[in-house]
């Protein structure tokens, strides 16, 4: 169904944290220097071998000192995912220069949530029960497991009173949260929204992806012929979205516009993507249509590019089918951050805006021999792009859940 182009929504703040470090300047440096985020797992002992992860290696506890409104009481109730989200959100809100967020809302994408905490409590409870130890584990900390915990901590720290929703569509969660938050602004439900996603590493996610045999022993090599799989990561990417009128009225600096959002479901398989990328094409096409753009208007695609055998093959097919073979520069930034699951769409939204603002396409790190059948114009080293006006970012999740966002330069 052809629809009218959507009203542009202003992006006035960005925040990021992950394997490349904390904050936009650190990310900028990592992207420019091609500094990958591949490293050893340091949060727990795994017996599965030396699979690298995209772990945040800064002092998260100290980083929380930069979050305004975080009372000692709230601080005690944070999961690692919550902490990552708060740090990224504080940066985004600071950059937006908003004096208060009280009238505003937040849409957040999550998947792992507080699992790192709750799974440890469960494992300990089972261990004691198996050992015949009658001493019970205090399960009260398990409340952070629930999906809305991050959203609630954001609302409490920033005093949000507007619409707040928590979306869990696996690895497309943040992209959906951002797209839907922009819809909420267009519908007049709120003038300003905090939107993005956050997820920490967890045993469940790590062991789960290992059980699916999709984790690479040497980190991800997206769109490489010899790629062996993904790297599980953690982080957060948050955006401050604002109606154009509100941003103009307060004289805010618009970093970029969110111009399109498309969403679809493969309805094909619980984990495997549709072999022809049918759902991915539908999401990208809808995002373009609603942005009022043609495929040839897109100057760069930040691919989902997890480096699994299935994803890269089908995503490449989908891109080639919609945009034409080799017609648009493409890169995946998963070797910088790892696959940060629900946070991926948020972090990659920040990268997309970075590309637009700096007129620079980030390299697809890790590729040695490009996947021939992909027929992509793969960005293997950072590439200047003076004529870059629009960027498309893909996020795909379990259950064939596809989301595509289009960002447009602010002039």
């Amino acid at each position: 169904m052809t629809q009218q182009p959507l009203e542009l929504v202003a992006i006035t703040g960005l925040g990021v944290i992950g394997a490349c470090g904390r904050g936009l300047p650190t990310m900028d440096q990592a992207l420019r220097e091609g500094r990958e985020g591949v490293g050893a797992l340091g949060l727990w002992q795994s017996s599965l071998g030396d699979f690298p992860v995209g772990q945040y290696r800064g002092d998260l506890e100290a980083d929380l000192d930069n979050v305004p409104g975080l009372t000692p009481y709230l601080r005690k109730r944070l999961s690692r995912s919550d902490a990552l989200a708060l740090v990224a959100a504080a940066e985004a809100v600071g950059q937006a220069g908003l004096p208060s967020l009280q009238a505003f809302g937040a849409y957040v994408g999550q998947s792992v949530c507080g699992t790192l905490t709750s799974e440890a409590l469960y494992i300990e409870a089972r261990r004691r029960a198996n050992a015949g130890n009658p001493e019970k584990v205090d399960m009260r900390g398990a409340f952070v497991h629930e999906g809305a915990n991050t959203l609630d901590r954001l609302a409490e720290a920033f005093g949000l009173r507007g619409p707040t929703l928590s979306f869990m569509t696996a690895c497309s969660s943040a992209a959906n949260a951002i797209g839907l938050a922009a819809d909420a602004i267009r519908a007049g439900r709120c003038e300003v929204m905090l939107a993005g996603g956050a997820d920490s590493l967890s045993r469940i996610a790590f062991n789960g992806f290992c059980s699916l045999k999709v984790v690479s022993p040497d980190g991800p090599r997206p769109f490489d012929r010899e790629r062996q799989g993904m790297m599980v990561g953690e982080g957060a990417g948050m955006l401050v979205l604002e109606s154009a009128a509100h941003a103009k009225a307060r004289g805010a600096r618009v970093l970029a516009w969110l111009s399109g959002y498309g969403h679809s479901c493969d309805a094909h398989h619980l984990t495997a993507p549709h072999p022809e990328g049918k759902g991915a094409i539908a999401a990208m096409r809808e995002a373009l249509e609603l942005a009022g753009l043609r495929p040839s208007d897109i100057g760069y695609i930040n691919a989902h590019g997890t480096a699994t055998l299935d994803n890269d093959r089908t995503e490449a097919r989908a891109i080639s089918s919609l945009f034409g073979e080799g017609a648009v520069p493409v890169s995946s930034t998963k070797r910088f951050f790892g696959h940060t699951l629900a946070a991926a769409g948020g972090i990659e939204a920040v990268v997309s805006v970075w590309a637009l603002r700096h007129k620079l396409l980030p390299a697809n790190l890790g590729v040695r021999v490009p996947l021939e059948e992909a027929k992509l114009d793969l960005v293997t080293v950072n590439q200047p792009a003076q004529g870059l006006h629009h960027v498309l970012s893909n996020s795909f999740g379990f259950g064939g859940n596809n989301a595509a966002l289009v960002f447009t330069e602010a002039v």
């Binding site: 999550q110 089972r126 399960m139 609302a155 619409p163 062991n207 059980s211 309805a267 619980l270 379990f398």
Partner: protein
């Protein structure tokens, strides 16, 4: 533009479908019973609960698809098919890209998640079960439904504790109004597993002694848990199908940050003649209180039917089913409290305000009205 409800499906402790659910509510059936919950140490605790009856997929879902579905996924998929059947809507007759699913669940896929963790606790991390992992993500219920009916449109899952269904409803209303979909299956489901029961027992939230049923107005002595699924077909009011009820308004926000009271705002505009809420006797849930009602000149009953079907985070979906049925059949369901009917005077409502302040600080409210 109004959003209407054109189909309803329910699997609950009151029965395997909407007809049984309605009969149970009309007759004041109490579905609370003692159930055995296995603890981590292998012992079994008998405690009251409202466990949903087994879903009846015969004639609705192909057996080969059922094999891949765990209990909660079955309940959800069966309720979805019931809703489509009730709306006399054959999914194959629709453009699949305009058919979507929006689901609310707080606990999500607890059974496969626990099985997944158990698989590596017992056999070592290399023995982790990929099948259980695939099923462990929150979005699995919405994905299973989409897979069953070939819905390639929007597919979203809202995880927001005890307003997860209301959050899904609000999301769906907005998607339909923005014309991002034409037909949406909107639902909510959660299940009570032995692990969750043990967690809830540790935190002191659950009633463990033998009681006749949940009392939504009880003095904070804990809740009697339950489980189930309810799914609805939602469309814009230009649909050719019969409207069972109309979603006149829907809002989500916060009640903990000093913002406006959404329920009061909606009540002011809609002048409801019945208020329902998510009160379950154990949390900080509140009725639209008497003072607020008096300020608005509202003198209407405020009820919760969780004494009839139990409570769980997504139970708002089943309350929504009760509300739709009251409106479309012109009847009122007398609620139970502690296993006994609450004596109050009420007539068949024409407009129901549902007020769902979450224990987490989130707040959702909607107005459901008879169709024009």
């Amino acid at each position: 533009m109004s959003i209407i409800v054109t189909g309803i499906g329910v699997v609950s402790a009151l029965g395997p479908n909407a007809a049984a659910f309605r009969r149970g509510l009309l007759e004041g059936s109490n579905a609370c019973a003692l159930h055995g919950f296995e603890r981590f140490d292998g012992s079994v605790v008998n405690a009251p609960a409202y466990m949903a009856v087994p879903a009846e997929p015969e004639g609705l879902i192909e057996p080969r698809k059922l094999r891949r579905m765990f209990r909660l996924a079955r309940m959800s998929a069966v309720a979805a098919r019931q809703a489509l059947k009730h709306a006399e809507l054959e999914p194959a007759s629709l453009d699949p890209s305009r058919l979507g699913v929006v689901f609310g669940t707080s606990f999500g896929a607890m059974e496969p998640t626990q099985k997944f963790v158990d698989s590596w606790i017992e056999g070592g991390e290399a023995s982790a079960s990929p099948l259980q992992f695939m099923n462990s993500v929150h979005g699995i219920l919405a994905s299973q439904i989409a897979l069953d009916i070939n819905a390639t449109g929007v597919n979203l899952t809202c995880a927001q504790r005890d307003i997860c269904f209301e959050a899904a409803l609000d999301t769906a209303v907005n998607l339909l109004q923005a014309r991002r979909a034409d037909v949406l299956l909107v639902g909510g489901a959660d299940e009570i597993t032995p692990m969750l029961h043990e967690f809830g027992s540790h935190t002191g939230q659950l009633v463990l002694q033998d009681v006749p049923g949940l009392d939504p107005w009880g003095a904070r002595r804990g809740v009697v848990p339950g489980d189930g699924a309810a799914v609805f077909v939602l469309e814009r009011d230009d649909s050719p199908r019969r409207a069972l009820a109309r979603v006149a308004a829907s809002r989500v926000g916060r009640h903990d940050q000093g913002g406006p009271n959404l329920a009061v705002e909606l009540a002011e505009a809609a002048r409801p003649d019945l208020v329902t809420n998510n009160r379950d006797g154990g949390a900080r849930c509140a009725r639209l209180n008497d003072r607020q009602q008096a300020e608005l000149g509202l003198h209407v009953p405020a009820v919760s039917h969780r004494g009839n079907f139990g409570t769980w985070p997504a139970a708002g979906a089943v309350q929504f089913a009760a509300n739709v049925l009251m409106l479309c059949n012109g009847e009122f369901f007398m609620p139970l409290a502690g296993g006994k009917p609450v004596e109050l005077k009420a007539e068949a409502p024409k407009a129901i305000l549902h007020n769902a302040p979450s224990i987490s600080g989130s707040h959702a409210a909607y107005v459901l009205a008879v169709s024009d």
